[in-house]
Amino acid sequence: MSDPGFFQSALVYLTAAVISVPIAKRLGLGSVLGYLVAGVGIGPHVLGLVGGSSSSSEVMHIAESGVVVMLFLIGLELKISALWRMRGTLLGLGGSQMLACGIILGVGVWLWGIELKSALLIGFILALSSTAIVLQTLREKSLHATAGGRHAFATLLFQDIAVIPLLAILPLLASTSASAANNIHSASHLSGAMQGLAICAAIASVVLAGRWLLPFLFSYIANAGLREIFTATALLLVLAIGGLMSLVGLSPALGAFVAGVVLASSPYRHELEGDLEPFKGLLLGLFFISVGASMDLQLIIKDPLGITLLLAGFVLIKGSVLAALGKLFHFAPGATPLYTLSMFQGGEFAFVLFSQATTLGILTLDQSARFNAIVALSMALTPLALVAGRNWLKPPADPDATPHREADAIEHSSPVILAGFGRYGNYVGRLLRSQGFRPVVLETDAEHVELTRRLGFEVHYGDATRLDILHAAGAQHAKLLVIAISDEETIDLLVATARRHFPHLEIVTRATGMDHRLRLIQQGVQHVFHELAGSALDAGTQTLRLLGIPAYPAERAARKFRRWDIESARDLAPIRLQDESAYFAIIRERVANLESLFRSDPTHEGSADAKAWQPPSAPKTPPVQT
C-alpha cells in the first residue's frame, strides 16, 4: 500500500469509471460501454494514464476474477434441478452454436489467408461470446429472464466448458518447440488422462465441500457474528475455487459456477449474494476498463479499412449463424433478435487464447493484434447494437407465448419477504405457506435457520436490515415485506431502510407495544399489529365464555374491542408527539367511548347489539323474530 503507484492507478481507474459510467447509463447505453470508453480514454493511445499492454494485462488478470465472482453468483441463483432442466438447451443449442460458428468463421479466416487448421482454431475462438458483457448488459436491461436471455445464458455456459478443449488443442497446433507448449498452462505437463482425472477430482471436491463442509463452515463463521469475516470467507471461497480450477486447467469461472450451483440451496445463499455483489460489480468494471485500455487504437488508425472489413465480416457471419440457430431451434417470438444482438461479439477468453497462439507461433503479432482489435470492438458494439435493436426486442405481447416450464430455469423471487422466523414469524410463514405462498424468509439466528430448514422451510440466513441482503432477497421485485422481528430498534431500522430504498414495498409489521405501534402508524406504515393483541383477546374471549357468556356474543365482544383498539391507535397516532394535552384528552375520550361501547355490549339489555335479537314482546324495539 505504500507504493504510490497503487494510489495513482486506483485514482485513474476510479475517476474514469465515475465520470464515464453514469454518462453512458444516462444515455441508455449501459454501464459496459461506459467502462469500455473509460478504458480507451485512460489507455496508452489516448491519455496514456495507464501503461501499455503489459501492465493492463496484469490489471485484466485481477479483473478476470470479476467474471469468476459473477459466475459464482449466477450459479447461486440456479439450483441443480433448474440446471438439469436446462440440459437440452445447454448441449443442443450450446453445442450447435460452437460447431456452426466455429466452422463457418474458421472457413472465413481460412479464406482470409491463414492455414486451415489454425484458421479453424481461430474460428472456434471467435465463436466464443463474452459472458461478462452479455450477462451484465442483459441484467441491466432486465432481459435475462426472457426466452432469448435464457438461450444466451445456456450458450454461454456451454462456451465456458468448450474453452477447456480449446486450451488443450492449442499446443498441438504449435509449430514451435514443445517447450513453449509447456508454458501454456500449468496443467499441460499432465497427460490427457491425468488431466481428465485431475479435473474430475477438482469438480468432485468442489461439489462435496459445497454439500458437507461449507454449510458447516458458514454456520461456524455466522455464529461468530463478524460480518467482515463472513465476507472474507465468501471471497476466499470463490478465489480458492478459481485457483483450484486453473491449477487443473479448467476455466476458473466454470469452477466458481459449479460451486455456486452446489450452494444454491444453502441457507447462506442470500448472505453470500449480498456480500459478493459489490465485489462483482467493481471487478467486472475493472475488467471492462482493461479491455478498453488494451484496444490497439494505433492499428485501427493505421488500417481503418482493413479492420472495419474484418470486423464487419466477423459480426455479419457470427450474427447470421446465431439468427439461423434461433430459427432452427424455434425460439419464442422476439427471442432470436435478442439472442443474435447480445451474442455476436467475441469473448474475453479470445484475448487469452490469441496471446497464447501468438506465443506458440500459430499467429503472427499483426494477426493477433487484428483479431484482438475486432474482438474488443465487437464487445463495444454490443451495448450499441442492443440499443439500436431495442424495437425488435420488445417482449411478445402475450406472456404465455413463452413456455412456462422454461421460465422456471431462473428462479423468480417471491412476492413476499418475511423478516424474522422466530416465535412470531413462524406463524406468519406457516399461514402463508398453507395457502401456497413461499416467502423469502430472512433470519439472523444461524442455529434457528438450521432447525427451521430441517422442518422443511426455505429460510435464509441474513440480516434483513442490510440493504444488500434485501436486494439479494429480491426486494426490488417483491410486493410485500412482513416484519416479524422482536426487537423494536431493529424493526424501526428495517422500516426506515425499506421505505427509503424500496418505496414500492407494502409493509406489514409487528409492533412491540402501544407506543411503538403509534410511532409506526405515525410514520405512515399501513399495516401495524400489536404483537400481543391477538393472543390477549383470544384469552379474554375464552375467559368471557368460561364466565358464562355464550360463544357468539363473546366473539363479537372481542371483535368489537379489537376494532375499537385499532381505531383508537389510528386516532391517537397523529397527535401523539405534537400535543401532549390533546393526546391525553383523546385517550380519556376513547376510554369513555370504550365504556359506552361496552354498555352496549350484547350481554347488556337495552344496547344496540342486544336489540338485534330482541323478541317482539319487548317494548320499543322492532320485531325481528317474526
Binding site: 363473546a554 366473539e555 363479537r556 350484547p602 323478541p615 314482546s617 320485531p623 325481528v624 317474526t626
Partner: protein, 186 residues
C-alpha cells in the same frame, strides 16, 4: 329399528331465548339424540364441514331448530347449508349422502298463528316461508317432514305456558326415533 336424531340448534343469543332453550332441554331426554349448538360451536362462523358431514351420515333424522328471524333462519344456518350441503356430496352428480334421511324444521315465531295466513299480517303461512328449506331437502333426496312450529313466543311466559309445547316436541321426537313415521309434508 331405532333411528338416530341429530338436532342442530341455532340461536345467536341462547341466554335470551326462552322458548328455544326450553325445547332443547326437553329434547335432551330423548335417548340417543345428538344435540349441537351451532352458535356455540362456530361463533366465528368457521363451520367444520368435514365434522358436520360425518355427523349427518351418522344420523337418520336431521332437526333444524331455530327462531324464525325475518321469515327465515338466523344467518349461521344459511352458512351451514351453504358450506355443508356440497355439490357431489349432498346433491348433483354423485351427491347421495343424504338420500333417504328426513329433515324436520322446528321454529319459534313471535307472531301468533293467525297472522300466518293469506288474510293475516304476514300474508303467507310458515310453510310457505320455509319453502327454500323444503326444496333444499328435496334436492338432497331427503323427506321434508311437516315442520314443528311454536307461535307467539312472547305470550309464553310461564312454565305452564311452555309445557304443552315441550311435551308435543318430545312426543314428536321420540316417535321419530322409534321409527313411527310422521306424515311427510304435503
Amino acid at each position: 329399528m331405532r333411528r338416530r336424531i341429530l338436532l342442530l340448534h341455532a340461536h345467536p343469543m341462547p341466554h335470551r331465548s326462552r322458548v328455544n332453550r326450553h325445547l332443547v332441554t326437553a329434547a335432551e331426554s330423548i335417548a340417543g339424540i345428538t344435540i349441537r349448538h351451532l352458535y356455540e360451536l362456530y361463533p366465528d362462523y368457521m363451520i367444520d364441514v368435514d365434522a358436520e358431514q360425518k355427523l349427518l351420515l351418522d344420523h337418520d333424522i336431521i332437526v333444524l331448530q331455530h327462531p324464525f328471524f325475518w321469515y327465515s333462519a338466523p344467518a349461521l344456518v344459511k352458512e351451514w347449508l351453504d358450506l355443508v350441503l356440497q355439490y357431489g356430496w349432498a346433491y348433483g352428480e354423485g351427491g347421495t349422502a343424504l338420500q333417504g334421511k328426513s329433515l324436520l324444521q322446528s321454529v319459534t315465531t313471535g307472531g301468533a298463528a293467525e297472522v300466518y295466513c293469506s288474510a293475516g299480517r304476514n300474508r303467507h303461512t310458515v310453510r310457505e316461508f320455509l319453502l327454500p328449506f323444503e326444496q333444499t331437502a328435496r334436492l338432497c333426496g331427503m323427506t321434508y317432514l311437516d315442520p314443528f312450529v311454536v307461535h307467539g313466543t312472547g305470550q309464553l311466559q310461564t312454565e305452564a305456558d311452555l309445557a304443552p309445547h315441550s311435551q308435543a316436541y318430545c312426543t314428536l321426537l321420540s316417535n321419530l326415533a322409534s321409527g313411527i313415521d310422521l306424515p311427510p309434508s304435503p
